[in-house]
Subunit: 254 residues, 2 copies
């Protein structure tokens, strides 16, 4: 296929694209082994370095993983599509659904396998966003989410203690609709959201908690929820995502 | 400051936070040198490994850069805040402003230093999104954007040749309001946008074009613009961003 586009592409990119097409079409199914370096060198008539560059493209896109001494395999799960705007629409949490449900299609399940709920002084950056003074108290809800057996998301939600003290938000299970439904019942219905997204290499403890293979960055999503009364910030949620596991999507009108 | 939060934090994180506070407050100004490892070990009473972890946090967040044999310095520019929704509001491009202007505050200027406009067969992934058949032609507009002397963004926009042939969109300079104003004049006013965001380590040629220091991931933003008539996709824009240079922001109502 000697189109203009393919003639411009470096060799390793063309090999990576060919392998990606085989993964997409299912010729190389989930869990199957990618041909070895020697086989790919012979097949495409290229040097070992070129093959390694092609394989590193697949790995950094999260399509494959290397198992030491065994080979390179097609990863057994596909990226999760997270729709930032639709998932926070009031119809979701207003009817008792949790916002995390909105992430998933076709029967895959995002499972919380670790929860820690505690009260403490607000970290400085959180206090600034929530408009709290030094030493003011917040409740924090830290959770780890697992998909297809792989941890993919760490989420810590901070809420002013003055707002949620004594409510079910301070319990591990917040009931149908989650904390946004409970905030609405307390008179602080979220009406506006801001999501800020960054990416960087993981801190050591993030790499550990998310079981990240080497060379996988994290995406950071910081969400602030604003309530009806004068756009008061009522929650800050700091999320750390396995970048290879997620596509974030935002859909909006001009 | 022995709050609950700080007691829970690992030592390297506390040192990183202290240095970040000094950068934020201007005690350590842009371009100034961070104290050396030995100084930080003495100051905080910690091992070299702990100091190195703290410094790697600053570097992976894009706040500092190491210069070989000289030391670690505060980076001379601050991340760019890109507001996904406001910047694509019709008021922006509808009045002759270019959408990229919306990225910037306080007199900083995003400059295009490389432009390449060409016609060719649509790459497979682009053809799929634009609903084109194999071999159908697109015009592509590839640009590199530089901020404060540092390349921060590679952007390649694809438009169906059948839509834009003969128009100024096929020229390097598209005039006031950019391609969206021109598409509107051609009867294909964009009314809806989808932005998809991923992150991974850069390909070799991306690292080169963006002058990325080692250990800096890229964010990929793929924007699709849909026109009035039946939500027809009229443009796909594939962007590669220096992750250390950008915060992406999306603001929306519940």
């Amino acid at each position: 296929m000697a189109t203009d586009a393919s003639r411009r592409e470096p060799k390793y990119q063309r090999i990576a694209n060919a392998l990606k097409a085989e993964i997409r079409s299912g010729v190389l199914g989930a869990g199957s082994r990618i041909p070895g370096e020697n086989d790919l060198m012979a097949q495409y008539g290229v040097a070992r370095m070129t093959v390694r560059q092609a394989l590193s493209v697949l790995q950094s896109e999260g399509l494959t993983e290397a198992r030491k001494g065994v080979g390179v395999f097609v990863r057994t799960f596909q990226p999760l599509r997270r729709r930032g705007i639709q998932r926070l629409a009031r119809e979701q949490w207003g009817t008792g659904r949790s916002v995390w449900d909105a992430d998933l299609g076709d029967g895959r399940e995002l499972v919380v396998d670790q929860v820690e709920v505690r009260e403490g002084a607000a970290p400085e950056s959180v206090a600034r966003v929530l408009g709290l003074g030094v030493g003011e108290r917040v409740w924090s809800r830290s959770r780890r989410f697992v998909l297809d057996g792989k941890p993919v998301l760490l989420s810590t939600s901070y809420l002013p203690a003055s707002l949620v003290e004594g409510s079910v938000i301070t319990q591990p299970d917040t009931g149908p609709g989650g904390i946004y439904a409970r905030l609405a019942e307390l008179g602080h219905r979220p009406v506006h959201f801001r999501e800020e997204i960054r990416s960087r290499m993981p801190l050591p403890e993030e790499a550990l908690k998310l079981s990240l293979p080497a060379g996988t960055p994290v995406m950071l999503v910081c969400r602030t929820a604003f309530a009806e009364e004068g756009r008061r910030p009522v929650e800050v949620n700091e999320m750390v995502l396995d970048a290879a596991a997620y596509v974030l999507e935002y859909d909006f009108d001009a």
